[in-house]
Each structure stands twice: as structure tokens, then as C-alpha cells.
């Protein structure tokens, strides 16, 4: 069974007085442990598709299934619970909480889930070591470099062992060397934690890391080749 299935998704936005179509008839299946890349120019709709996959946006038409169950986009509570327990996010500009230390940022999803203090401490220490920023655990995000912040963001996304990791331009704010290290890390840990990965990027360097690449062009999904 696929983790998520999208069927005939349509999405459009109102820009001024005009309705602008962003996604047209999207069909997509993502399986457990699979890593797919969505590429395309700015405005092609890859972030919108990513947001729908991450359940933070909703389609105008079409269906989405999560582990075989239809997703009810009208129930904000159910969407929140799915994100809380099963989906991790990595953002282009890291989006760490500035008043929390690196360790607290990583601990946040576990706090939300209500894990015990001991469990949180152990899990946070482990994942920070895996992303190689354990020595910066007590630092605030402002004191970290871009690469370190993105590693903390990846740790935050993975610490709850999500079934789906959604990454929107995760390497866009990083230099070439760091970008490759971060991409490698995401793939390695994604495999280790057994989660599926959807990455929206226009960074060609990430192609080799993906099991499957989809091209979005004028709202239409093309490709699917490795």
C-alpha cells in the first residue's frame, strides 16, 4: 500500500481578478521509504504540491489518500494530528524557533506528542549526534551557521520518526558543499528512520539523491524517472 496517493488534484489561486491555475490533474503515488524530487521553475506549483502532500494546504478538486484512507481536508483537527504524529518538515529558511536552543527546537515535536522527559532527552541527543551538531545543543539558532541550522531543522523533522518528510528547497540557502552534505544526510537518515521523502527543489545537484524525479510544468506533473 502506498503512503500517499494523489488523484486528479487541481489547485488554483486568485491573483487580483484572475484565477491562476497552479496544479492540473495531478496523479502521484509515494511509497514508504521512497525519496522523490519535484523540480521545476519558480511558480511551477512544486511548493503547492509539496504543501498539499504535507497537509498544510488543500486541493480545490481531486482526492488524496493517506495509507489508504481518504484525507478529509475539512477537518483541521485530523490534519493537525496527522502532521503532529506522522509528518516532518524541512523549510528553505530553516524556520527554527529563535528563543529555543537547538536541543529545545529538536525536542519540540516530542513535547507536542507528550513524550516523557527522559525519552525526549535520549531521542534529541541521538538525532543531534546523527546530524553532527550535538556540541551546539545549547546554542540558540542565531549562534549557528546556515548549515548547522539546517541540520538542526532536519533533526527536528526526523526526531519523531515521521512516515513522511517534506522538504521545500532545503539546500537553497546553503553553499554548494553544505548543500550536498545536507542532502546526503537527509537521504541517509530518511532511509534509517524508514520515512518517505518529498523534496521540492530546483537544485539539479539533488537529482542523484532521489529515487524518482518529477518535473512540474505549468501545473502538470511529468516524468517519474529515476
Amino acid at each position: 500500500m502506498s503512503l500517499i496517493t494523489l488523484q486528479q488534484l487541481h489547485k488554483s489561486y486568485r491573483v487580483g481578478k484572475q484565477q491562476q491555475t497552479v496544479l492540473t490533474g495531478i496523479d502521484l503515488q509515494l511509497h514508504q521509504g521512497e525519496m522523490i524530487g519535484l523540480i521545476g521553475p519558480s511558480g511551477s506549483g512544486k511548493s503547492t504540491l509539496l504543501n498539499i502532500c504535507g497537509l498544510i494546504d488543500h486541493p480545490d478538486e481531486g482526492e488524496m489518500w493517506w495509507q489508504g484512507q481518504p484525507v478529509d481536508f475539512s477537518s483541521l483537527t485530523k490534519l493537525t494530528e496527522l502532521r503532529r504524529n506522522h509528518i516532518g518538515f524541512v523549510f528553505q529558511s530553516f524556520n527554527l524557533i529563535p528563543v529555543m536552543s537547538a536541543a529545545d527546537n529538536v525536542a519540540y515535536p516530542l513535547w507536542l506528542r507528550g513524550d516523557s522527559r527522559a525519552e525526549i532527552k535520549k531521542a534529541v541527543q541521538k538525532v543531534l549526534e546523527e546530524v553532527e551538531v550535538a556540541e551546539f545543543a545549547d546554542q540558540l539558532p542565531d549562534a549557528l551557521s546556515g548549515g548547522q541550522r539546517q541540520r538542526v531543522a532536519i533533526a527536528r523533522a526526523l526526531v519523531k520518526k515521521p512516515q513522511l518528510l517534506v522538504a521545500d528547497e532545503p539546500t537553497a540557502s546553503l553553499d554548494e558543499e553544505t548543500a550536498l552534505v545536507v542532502a546526503d544526510l537527509m537521504k541517509k537518515l530518511g532511509r534509517e528512520y524508514g520515512c518517505a521523502l518529498v523534496i521540492a527543489t530546483h537544485d539539479d545537484r539533488l537529482k542523484p539523491w532521489c529515487d524518482c524525479i518529477y518535473q512540474l510544468h505549468q501545473g502538470v506533473l511529468q516524468g517519474g524517472a529515476a
Partner: protein, 405 residues
């Protein structure tokens, strides 16, 4: 606890703004505490003065306070000594003091003027406290010798009008209970002031027996009951009323019209001012929370994307306001406590109230009850304001919030 911890951390994001809101809250709490403290001090002072003047419970003829007498002592109280003995047998009653209220003419031989007289027991001067001030001479002697000339205390302006000093002689003219004119030669013992010029122009106090001699009666107008514990006034009022159903029994506050008027006036004035201060706190916290929500819109999107429930985000902002409300209240209460203590050390005199000649010291009571109510109101306003300010932010779609610049 984690939310409170996060809320505490968030207060440090914009320290200057947090401090400004905190100080405004503290100043508002100080204002409310100072206003209410002044009002409470005034109420207590007036209450005490009223109780000292006539007692906690006043016994009289049932109609004495209801209508004017057609003849002197028409509505007098009989068998007063028996009544006093019976009442004083109660261990909760400290003493009882009888009083005759009468009027007549006072003459120095050249000039006559009307007076408003009170026949009192000398013990009343010890009870009355600072309500009446002895300006010249001495208080009435505790035990008036039958051979001695009756003594009077005159209001300051009455003494000035008659051009008399302590030791001078006067004649009192009054009507007896039979309607016959009677005269009594008296000696001026002292000159007093109540602080109310109109009253000082008419007031005259004599021993109770002197007033009874002038009016040719053994009755009194009223009998004041002074309790061991003044706060038991309500229970003793009920008890005495049940014990003497044939008499008029009046609680002190029904006779304290000035106290009631001041209380009604102050409650309205200071109540409105208190609400204005609370609304100011509400607006300040609404503004702070609105700014904070606007600045952190992207972060709200991130929190929501990570699976934070809307009520949890709302709760976070509300807890930030709660902390500001609590800390501001605490600071305000401490400042109010400092002000209250400071006024015991530094003598600040208030000008005389309208219609009076004497000022009074400014004190501010620090009431734990008022502190609790004020803090609760401030916290409620803060929470409500923060809740309203945050609602718009948390209802924004997550994608829109994440793309907020």
C-alpha cells in the same frame, strides 16, 4: 509547563516592549490600589468616626428618627438607667452612653443666639476620638458637683459670636417638657471645633444632667451602645432589636449619612477610574500581543505545520499575556505597598473637604482583598486582550503564514 516556559522565553524577544507593557500594567495596578486604598481609608475613618459619635447601635423612641418632636422630649426614652444596666450586663457591650438633643437660646447678657445642644456623658469625649477638637479650656469634668455651676462646651464660632472665653458665664434658655420656659446659668468650660463651620456656630455641649435639669425631664433622646468588638455591630443590632422590640433600634450606618454619601460618591468616581485603568491595560496588552503576532506570523505557520493545535498556539500567547499581567500586578502591588508605607513616614496633608475647616492626613490602605481583585481583573483583561489579538493570527492559513514577510 513547557508552554509556560516557552511563553517566558518569548517575553524576552522584545525586551523593551515587554518592559514598557509590564510597567504600564504595574502603574495601572498602582493607580487602582492607590485610589481604592484612599477610598478604603476614607470609608474606615468615617465609619469609625460615626461609630465613635453615637455608638454601633442606637436605641431611641421608635419614632425619634422618623419625625420632628412637637415638644421637647416628646419622643424621649424612659427608664434609661435600667436599660443601661441591662445592656451593660452583656459582656460583649463595652458601655452605653445616653444623649439628649435639644435647642434653645444662649445669652451673655448683651446678646442672645440660638444653639443646638447636646447633653452628654463626659465619657463620650474619650470615645469620640479626633472628631471633635478642643481649641481652648478643658473638657467637661467627669463628675459634676451638685454645688458647682453647670458647665458648657461651645462651638468655636458660637463662642466667638458671644465673645466668651473659658471661665465666662452664660445663661441657657429652653422649654421644659411641660412647655414652660426655663433658664440655667452655666460656665464656659471649653471651646471646641468639629471642623464644620456651620455646626461650630451652633454647637453647645453640657452634662446630661444639666440638659435634663433645663428640660425638666429624666428622659434621654438616644442611647448609644458601644461594643467590645465594633465589627460585631450587625449581630448586636439584630440581638438588641429582638430583645427590645418596643424601642427604636438603629444601626450606626443608618445615622451615618455623610459616610453613606461619601461611599456612594467615591465608589462611582474611583470605580469608573479603575475601569478606565483596566481598559488601558487591556489596550496595551492587545497592542503588544498584536505586534507580537504580526512579527511572529511565520513562526505561527511553522508551529502549525509541526502539528501544534490552534488552541495550543492561542494558549501560548495567552500565557505570555498572563505572565505580563501577573508580573505587572506583582510590581504594581509592591509599589502600592511602598507608597502605603511611605505615607506613614511622610506626613502628607489633604486640604479640608468642602464645607469643613480641617484637613486630614493622607493614608492609603493596602488591602489584600483589593490586591487580589485588582490582580485578577488585570490578568483577566490581559488574557482577554491577548486572546482577541491572537485569534486573527491563528486563523490565517498555514501556507499564508509561512510566506508572511
Amino acid at each position: 509547563m513547557k508552554w509556560l516556559y516557552l511563553a517566558w522565553k518569548n517575553l524576552g524577544r522584545n525586551r523593551r516592549r515587554t518592559l514598557a507593557t509590564l510597567l504600564l500594567t504595574a502603574v495601572a495596578v498602582l493607580g487602582i490600589m492607590a485610589l481604592s486604598g484612599f477610598a478604603l481609608y476614607t470609608y474606615e475613618s468615617l465609619k469609625e468616626a460615626s461609630m465613635r459619635k453615637e455608638g454601633q447601635v442606637i436605641l431611641s423612641h421608635p419614632e425619634y428618627f422618623q419625625r420632628e418632636e412637637n415638644a421637647p422630649m416628646e419622643l424621649g426614652l424612659d427608664r434609661v438607667q435600667q436599660l443601661q444596666q441591662a445592656l451593660q450586663a452583656d459582656p460583649g457591650i463595652d458601655t452605653t452612653l445616653a444623649q439628649i438633643n435639644f435647642d434653645g437660646l444662649v445669652s451673655n447678657g448683651e446678646k442672645s443666639t440660638i444653639f443646638m445642644g447636646q447633653g452628654v456623658e463626659p465619657e463620650s469625649f474619650r470615645r469620640q476620638g479626633p472628631g471633635v477638637d478642643l481649641k481652648q479650656g478643658r473638657w467637661l469634668t467627669p463628675e459634676l458637683s451638685p454645688q458647682a455651676l453647670p458647665e458648657v462646651l461651645l462651638g468655636q464660632r458660637l463662642a466667638a459670636s458671644l465673645k466668651v472665653q473659658p471661665g465666662d458665664g452664660l445663661t441657657l434658655l429652653g422649654t421644659t417638657t411641660d412647655g414652660v420656659l426655663n433658664a440655667l446659668d452655666v460656665s464656659v468650660r471649653g471651646i471646641i471645633s468639629t471642623g464644620i463651620p456651620e455646626l461650630d456656630a451652633r454647637l453647645l455641649k453640657v452634662h446630661l444632667q444639666s440638659a435634663q435639669e433645663l428640660l425638666a425631664t429624666d428622659q434621654v433622646s438616644q442611647l448609644g451602645v458601644y461594643l467590645q468588638h465594633p465589627h460585631q455591630d450587625e449581630s448586636y443590632y439584630q440581638k438588641i432589636r429582638d430583645q427590645y422590640p418596643e424601642l427604636g433600634v438603629t444601626p450606626w450606618h443608618e445615622r451615618a449619612t455623610f459616610y453613606q454619601s461619601v461611599r456612594n460618591l467615591y465608589n462611582r468616581i474611583f470605580g469608573v477610574m479603575g475601569v478606565i485603568l483596566l481598559v488601558m491595560v487591556g489596550f496595551a496588552i492587545f497592542n503588544t500581543a498584536s505586534m507580537s503576532v504580526m512579527e511572529r506570523t511565520r513562526e505561527l505557520g511553522t508551529l502549525a505545520a509541526l502539528g501544534t493545535r490552534r488552541r495550543e498556539i492561542l494558549g501560548l500567547f495567552v500565557q505570555e499575556a498572563l505572565l505580563i499581567g501577573l508580573l505587572g500586578s506583582l510590581l504594581g502591588l509592591l509599589l502600592a505597598g511602598g507608597l502605603s508605607l511611605g505615607l506613614y513616614w511622610v506626613d502628607v496633608q489633604m486640604p479640608p473637604p468642602p464645607g469643613q475647616t480641617e484637613g486630614y492626613p493622607l493614608y492609603i490602605y493596602w488591602s489584600p482583598w483589593m490586591a487580589g481583585i485588582t490582580s485578577l481583573a488585570v490578568v483577566l483583561f490581559a488574557v482577554l486582550a491577548a486572546g482577541l489579538a491572537t485569534l486573527k493570527g491563528i486563523n490565517k492559513p498555514i501556507v499564508e503564514a509561512l510566506n508572511h514577510v
